[in-house]
């Protein structure tokens, strides 16, 4: 793939006219997707896709063309040259862009990680045999993913990573289920077996007679997967410098002194994830960008455009200024002691479909889902029918935060809108003295 990309870039370089520059991004993957339901295969298939986005720059004018590549180097080189010519026709119709910012210097890199992976067919067979007799539903996505950048100044960045991501649920009945995943860069039959065995054990808990709780305030333990739903909502503009500067961030109040518990530390930790260490404009990402330190907002994700618009320093953020490897520091509570520390309350395995009920106040609502239990005296009593919460981050991770777990869990992004994603989160669980449930 690296040689293929180089041949494409060579064609683009050759297509440039005097005074023109380019910045080119490649996003490609070869993926086997296998969708399963009721312990059977619903839709198995293969997707081979390569997209290039060429930005042609002349002075302060620029325009982009993203297009699907066939994989045939000669044909794609011709398509790239045609794209450059098309963009050349567009530029005179545009005005100078006051917010254009390009990288200084040349920072090339090449990284290949992961694999080799078992054949998807073999994984499916292993999984379905292991869950035989259970109501299993889920998705396997496996294969290599590529990201690359090049520009006319000679910078080359290449990121190749072979990953698998198996997400599944075991259902008892109706909406009573447990959810687990196995994802990573190196496959282990034993690890898969252990995780499925854990699912089966958990299924016994969720199969108990459920309890319906009245709306109200309850003590709660939020497992890392539940915390992930909260941080994914915050990722929707919360840490964006542009959103903060224009008062649209849900964390804007933290610019005016609102704080979380001083034990809360959040950062963009590229080194801990699987995202490339460069972004689509060619800016190199620092290994870590502190965002919340000691409960206070100390940083933001700054894209090149925002840097230019507001006079800030770009720090490798993508155009949406969303985190790609968000990490939250752990605390002192051992995860195995989390139910004992909860004592009586809700152990929430997963949250679902979060949104803001009052964004400036960072008040959010969402549902419990999958394995959520009523706990008494540190022991699971019953699974709980789904509950809606409506509460602010400042209470959940502020006044009401009792503890964070020492252990953290790394979760690779499982959504595959348009392409497989390279985002990840590294999060602890959280024990809160009170969480507000409304429905």
């Amino acid at each position: 793939m690296e040689a293929y990309f180089e041949s494409l870039v060579t064609a683009i370089d050759r297509a440039l006219a005097p005074g023109e520059r380019h910045a080119t991004w490649l996003a490609a993957e070869d993926t086997d997707f296998v969708r399963m339901n009721r312990g059977k295969v619903r839709q198995p298939g293969h997707v081979a896709q390569r997209y290039a986005e060429i930005r042609l720059i002349h002075g302060a004018r620029h325009a982009s063309h993203a297009f699907a590549l066939t994989g045939d180097a000669a044909a794609d080189a011709g398509a790239a040259a045609t794209a450059v010519a098309g963009l050349r026709d567009v530029l005179p119709q545009l005005t100078d862009d006051p917010h254009l910012l390009l990288p200084d210097g040349v920072n090339s890199s090449s990284e290949t990680r992961g694999g080799p992976l078992p054949a998807a067919e073999a994984i499916v067979e292993q999984v379905l045999e292991a869950v035989n007799g259970h109501d299993f539903v889920g998705l396997l996505a496996t294969g290599p993913v590529f990201r690359a950048f090049a520009n006319s100044e000679g910078q080359r960045n290449f990121h190749s990573i072979a990953t698998f991501n198996l997400q599944w649920s075991l259902y008892h009945r109706a909406d009573k289920a447990v959810k687990h995943s196995y994802s990573g860069l190196a496959w282990s039959d034993d690890e898969l077996g252990a995780r499925i065995a854990q699912s089966v054990d958990d299924l016994a808990l969720v199969s108990r007679a459920p309890r319906s709780l009245a709306p109200g305030k309850y003590r709660a333990y939020l497992a890392p997967a539940a915390m992930q739903e909260i941080t994914e909502l915050l990722a929707w503009g919360g840490f964006s410098a542009r959103a903060l500067e224009t008062q649209q961030s849900a964390l804007a109040k933290m610019r005016s002194g609102a704080t979380l518990d001083p034990r809360v530390q959040i950062g963009e930790d590229i080194a801990a994830g699987i995202a490339p260490a460069f972004q689509a404009d060619g800016f190199v990402r620092p290994a870590e960008v502190p965002l919340v330190a000691d409960g206070a907002l100390v940083g933001a994700l700054v894209s090149p455009r925002t840097a230019r618009e507001f006079g800030l320093e770009a720090n490798g953020a993508n155009g949406a200024e969303s985190p790609e490897a968000l990490a939250m520091s752990g605390g002192t509570l051992a995860m195995r002691d989390s139910l004992a520390a909860l004592d009586t309350g809700l152990a929430i395995g997963n949250l679902w479909y979060l949104n803001y009920s009052d964004r400036p106040a960072c008040r959010m609502t969402g549902m419990t889902r999958f394995a959520t239990y009523w706990v008494e005296n540190g022991r699971v009593v019953a699974p709980v029918d789904v509950l809606r919460f409506d509460d602010t981050l400042y209470r959940l991770l502020g006044d009401n935060l009792e503890a964070l777990t020492r252990e953290r869990e790394l979760s690779l992004e499982s959504s595959t809108y348009g392409s497989r994603k390279l985002e990840s989160v590294l999060l602890p669980g959280a024990l809160v003295s009170e969480m507000n449930f409304t429905l």
Binding site: N37, H46, V90
Partner: protein, 481 residues
């Protein structure tokens, strides 16, 4: 722009494919985005996306393979890969593909005014810049943007049974969003939501929604919200404007009626449904005023088409009539699996994803009340406009939605504006509180290009046409303060 191979000989399956059925779905989509933010034209972007999805039934299994290589060699390799997947998983297949329908559709479709001229690039920017300049009318307006996305798509479906369908679409998404901030309060107002205006056709779409002049109009409403009190809390009647009704229909009727959710396919991701197969034909979903149709025939609506992506001919179909649930949103394969009737709604969001059951155009049929009569019938309530927040459980029952703007209604008269209006309820009973339905004059044809679902994930275009509607006894509340 049509680069889909037109000669069947170019994609006849390779010898030795040994398939019971195959299909090829070519997709060619070109989009251009024009945006002016805070009076600064944003970088111009064009996207060209072309590829083919090969689907094969073989040995009782089902398999697919997608590639952007639409050469004869690329297409044949994709068919072979799809056949390999079908055979490799045949013994685990959830449905015996030998018993699935083998479509042979013939026909075509074109969006209204699909070939009429649109403004040139500079004209788009000039138009958007005018609205942007009008929107930035006050220092309290801290961010704003006006944009339009223009998309052309050509889909061609060819099947081994002689099917051959060509459908040509043009979609326009004009959008305008404005953020106002003062004294610690931030309010956002938009023109019918983020890409809530999304239709098939040409420039007439912008005229239909009075895009010209919207910059100042929406900015003034954003400033009005800054000064407005918080929405009152309590149980009251709500009058939902069409740009909130579309979300209410989408989340609490559309998704729960998707047959693949009912069959369990989505349980690991988008969720299941409180609707079960035994409910069809008898379940009271809503009051007698509730009439819901799947209508791919409304020309300007976003998801109108003649055939779905499995080749099933599309027709207007009642899903809920006079409040009684009649049939689900399920395509041909789901119908065969469930033994239920359905509609032509097997859809994929591109060449690189397989079709699944989706909403397309899902509409609430108008009633007989004028807007003034809807207001006049409310003793104590609130008018809610333009969705801003959406959340619902994985069975599509317990929901909570927020809107950009509210207006109190007292004694049958519209009163002052309120900010941060929210309401919550339960789908299974909420629709039974539908008390009055607006007439055709209150209908707006809206939708969203961003409906997410599926494993692998897909974002698809859906249309919703709805009148304004009144619901009684709803739990309404405001923001944090």
């Amino acid at each position: 722009m049509f680069s889909v191979p037109m000669s069947r000989e170019k994609f006849l399956p390779p010898s030795g494919l040994d398939a019971d059925f195959w299909s090829l779905r070519f997709v060619d989509e070109v989009s251009e985005s024009f945006c002016v933010r805070k009076n600064v034209p944003q970088p111009f972007t064009r996207v060209t996306d072309r590829g083919v999805m090969a689907t094969v039934y073989a040995g009782g299994g089902y398999g697919y393979a997608a590639t952007a290589d639409t050469s004869s060699r690329g297409v044949q390799a994709a068919l072979q890969r799809a056949a390999e997947w079908a055979r490799a998983t045949a013994r685990y297949a959830i449905a015996d593909s030998r018993k699935l329908p083998r479509p042979s559709p013939r026909g075509d479709y074109a969006s209204p005014s699909v070939d009429t001229a649109l403004p040139a690039r500079q004209e788009w920017y000039e138009l958007l810049e005018r609205e942007s300049l009008e929107a930035g009318l006050d220092p309290r307006i801290v961010d704003w943007e006006a944009l339009v996305d223009v998309r052309h798509a050509t889909h061609r479906l060819v099947t081994s049974e002689g099917g051959d369908v060509v459908q040509r679409f043009r979609f326009l998404y004009p959008s305008l969003g404005i953020t106002a901030h003062a004294d610690g309060i931030t309010q956002r107002r938009s023109l019918n939501g983020d890409r809530g205006i999304c239709q098939q056709g040409g420039f007439e779409i912008l005229e239909r929604f009075r895009f010209h002049g919207s910059g100042r109009r929406v900015a003034e409403e954003a400033l009005e919200l800054l000064a407005a009190p918080n929405c009152p809390s309590g149980r009251m009647d709500v009058l939902l404007a069409p740009d909130q009704m579309v979300l209410q229909i989408h989340e609490s009727i559309g998704h729960p009626l998707e047959l693949d959710r009912i069959l369990g396919d989505e349980r690991n991701f988008a969720g299941t449904s409180f609707v079960t197969p035994d409910m069809f034909g008898s379940y009271r979903y809503g009051s007698e005023h509730l009439n819901i149709t799947f209508d791919p025939t409304r020309a300007e609506e976003l998801a109108s088409y003649a055939f779905d992506d499995d080749g099933t001919p599309a027709a207007k179909t009642w899903l809920i009539r006079d409040g009684i649930l009649e049939r689900p949103l399920g395509g041909a394969i789901s119908q065969a699996r469930a033994g239920l009737p359905g509609v032509a709604n097997a859809r994929a969001d591109g060449w690189n994803r397989p079709p699944i059951d989706r909403m397309a155009n899902l509409n609430l049929e108008p009633g007989d009340a004028t807007f003034d009569e809807l207001v006049a019938g409310i003793e104590h309530g609130v008018l809610l406009e333009t969705n801003s927040s959406w959340s619902i459980d994985d069975s599509r029952n317990k929901f909570q939605f927020g809107c950009e703007r509210g207006r109190v209604i007292e004694h049958g008269r519209l009163g002052h504006v309120v900010r941060n209006p929210n309401y919550r309820g339960v789908s299974a009973v909420f629709w039974r509180s539908l008390a009055r339905v607006g007439n055709a004059d209150t209908v707006q044809v809206l939708g969203t290009p961003f409906c997410g679902k599926g494993e692998p994930s897909q974002t698809i275009r859906v249309g919703h046409a709805s009148p304004a509607c009144v619901f009684t006894g709803v739990d309404v509340f405001g923001g944090e303060d």
